[in-house]
């Protein structure tokens, strides 16, 4: 059974903006699934529709076999949502927020208290249970939203940029926790993130959405094998990096290092030869792990270039008419 099935989902907002142009998606039960896309691609709209916060224009959504139109309450009972923006009562305590959501999900008070304690402890928030939520740090607020989303033990957990603005250590702890929830409790997880390294490390399947359409879908390894490019990070003493070196694309990084894109299978000797000819000396080199990011950037860019050339062609034709 699928944790989530979406068929021809469309959403046009009142102002006429077409946020989703008919997307199809199938997330297997137990999957850890990444939904990636640039800002404004339609990720949050899709999540809003799945979790009943946004009304769809047309299409079908089914959660754990329950159709959202025909059996909305049963579908909602299977979803836990961690939204992008903080959306809890800032005057309530941590414990009350989680307890209330357990109650909204029909969990009796005694069980709700046990589960609240369990998830707050799991997310290292138990000591903060009597703290008013507005006094929590950003990372704690994110963890509170995860505890709140899990308290009714949903089969599908949806996380919309859960690690945005969170420091590396907390981010790693959250990764470990989510992996445990996925592997040990069998909870299917859908994750949207701007940290593609996160998607590469955690997720089995990926869908990339852009301009309201799914432009790529498959396993992480499939997408990476389609990438055909590798990126290396170089330590170099050169301060001005040329854009092209021997046909390879290069760029400067914020940390003073440089990156070079190399087609898969290229002999590194050839790369070093090109660098030497350009008087760039390299003291160390490593393969950039974040390959999905490179694939994502190239994919979104190529789609933009395609649509720009189509726009250009059509405007030329219109001009000719």
């Amino acid at each position: 059974m699928s944790a989530l099935t979406i068929k021809d989902l469309r959403k046009t907002y009142d102002g006429g903006v077409e946020a989703l142009k008919g997307i199809d998606l199938d997330v297997e039960d137990g999957n850890f699934f990444a939904l990636l896309g640039p800002n404004g691609a339609g990720k949050s709209t899709a999540i809003g529709i799945i979790s009943s916060l946004v009304n769809k224009t047309s299409g079908h959504v089914s959660v754990c076999g329950f159709d959202l139109d025909k059996n909305r309450e049963a579908a909602k009972a299977n979803i836990g949502l961690v939204p992008q923006e903080f959306n809890f009562n800032v005057f309530e305590t941590v414990q009350s927020i989680v307890l209330n959501v357990a109650g909204y999900n029909g969990i009796k008070r005694r069980v709700a208290k046990q589960r609240t304690e369990y998830y707050l402890k799991q997310l290292s928030l138990w000591d903060k249970r009597d703290t008013v939520s507005r006094n929590l740090s950003g990372g704690m607020k994110r963890r509170l939203m995860i505890a709140r989303a899990l308290v009714h033990e949903p089969k599908l957990l949806i996380l919309d940029e859960p690690t945005a603005g969170v420091d590396i250590e907390i981010r790693r702890t959250m990764w470990e926790f989510l992996t445990r929830v996925n592997k040990e409790e069998g909870t299917s997880i859908i994750l949207t993130t701007h940290y593609l390294e996160e998607a590469e490390a955690l997720c089995k399947d990926v869908a990339i959405i852009d301009h309201g359409q799914i432009v790529e879908q498959g396993t992480v390894s499939e997408l990476l094998s389609r990438s055909m490019m590798e990126t290396f990070v170089l330590d170099t003493d050169v301060t001005t990096i040329p854009e092209q070196v021997g046909g390879y694309h290069m760029r400067h990084r914020d940390d003073g290092k440089a990156e070079i894109d190399v087609p898969q299978g290229t002999a590194l000797n050839d790369v070093f030869k090109a660098l030497s000819e350009s008087n760039i000396s390299v003291s160390s080199l490593r393969n950039k792990e974040n390959r999905l990011e490179a694939f994502f950037v190239r994919l979104v860019q190529s789609k933009r270039d395609d649509s720009a050339s189509i726009d250009h062609e059509s405007s030329t034709k219109e001009g000719a008419v």
């Binding site: 907002y13 809003g48 979790s51 009943s52 916060l53 946004v54 009304n55 909305r72 309450e73 049963a74 909602k76 009972a77 979803i79 949502l81 939204p83 923006e85 903080f86 959306n87 809890f88 009562n89 800032v90 005057f91 009350s96 209330n100 959501v101 109650g103 909204y104 999900n105 029909g106 969990i107 009796k108 008070r109 709140r148 009714h152």
Partner: protein, 259 residues
């Protein structure tokens, strides 16, 4: 009880508990000001001015105004509780906690409304206790008194909910109480009997729904009023049915709370 019904029951009581805790947590802002207002009304209108008026419709003036003063507290506070709580939930987006949970819209509405009724009745009870320092009135028809208080409170809680659904700024939830409810309450016969008015203004007054609530409540306490009791019940029930239906329809559409 089916598990679905049991879930709704738990969700309903969770919303009610949260709503009651909300206004009790800030009781200095929510419960005490109406009591202070009531003391001022009774002291100035009932005591100082009332001693010159002596009687209205055959009862001491203080006794005449007490039901209206209690009802004014119930009306304003039921409305304010729901409009303010629901609007905060919208503004801080924690209404989404309810929208993503498997709770029916009727349960959500009922939870907020009972929260409003709880505050309305809490204020009404406190004002009644205060009134005992000024008069020793005992309701002639306790069932009528309590039922009119509860139904009125439900009606204005629904009004507050509707206001919050449409509100986009804090100004939007203060306009109706300040510019509609308060004037209608004052012209609803708290301090005077409409039989004192010229015929034309009596007819105009009868277009004011709050007149029926205050007079229904006054009938319960004093045993007499300007309006037949059945008319009071009819007006309140019609408004409850109309406002309740509109609220449910708007919630089902997601008006004001969904994109």
């Amino acid at each position: 009880m089916s598990s679905r019904l049991m879930q709704e029951r738990v969700a309903f009581f969770t919303i009610v508990r949260r709503e009651i805790r909300r206004f009790m947590r800030i009781w200095v802002q929510t419960i005490t000001p109406p009591a202070v207002n009531a003391v001022l009304y009774m002291l100035i209108f009932g005591g100082l001015i009332g001693s010159r008026i002596r009687e209205m419709n055959g009862v001491p003036y203080m006794d005449f105004i007490v039901p209206g003063v209690i009802m004014m507290g119930i009306i304003i506070n039921s409305y304010a509780n729901v409009s303010s709580s629901m609007f905060s939930a919208k503004m801080q987006h924690f209404i989404e906690e309810l929208l993503v949970a498997p709770v029916s819209n009727i349960t959500i509405l009922a939870g907020f409304i009972i929260g409003g009724v709880a505050r309305g009745l809490a204020v009404g009870t406190l004002v009644t206790v205060v009134a005992f320092f000024f008069t020793d009135l005992i309701p002639v028809h306790p069932v009528v008194t309590i039922s009119i208080a509860i139904l009125t409170s439900i009606m204005f809680s629904l009004g507050g909910f509707l206001n919050a659904l449409f509100a986009t700024t804090f100004d939007d939830i203060s306009i109706v109480p300040n510019f509609v409810l308060t004037p209608l309450t004052y012209f609803g016969g708290i301090f005077y009997s409409i039989s004192m008015l010229p015929d034309f203004w009596q007819i105009v007054s009868k277009l004011n729904p709050i007149l029926y609530m205050i007079n229904g409540f006054r009938f319960g306490i004093l045993g007499s009023s300007d309006i037949p009791l059945w008319q009071s019940y009819a007006v309140i029930l019609i408004f409850i049915a109309a406002l309740g239906s509109v609220c449910v329809i708007l919630l089902n559409r997601g008006a004001g709370i969904k994109q």
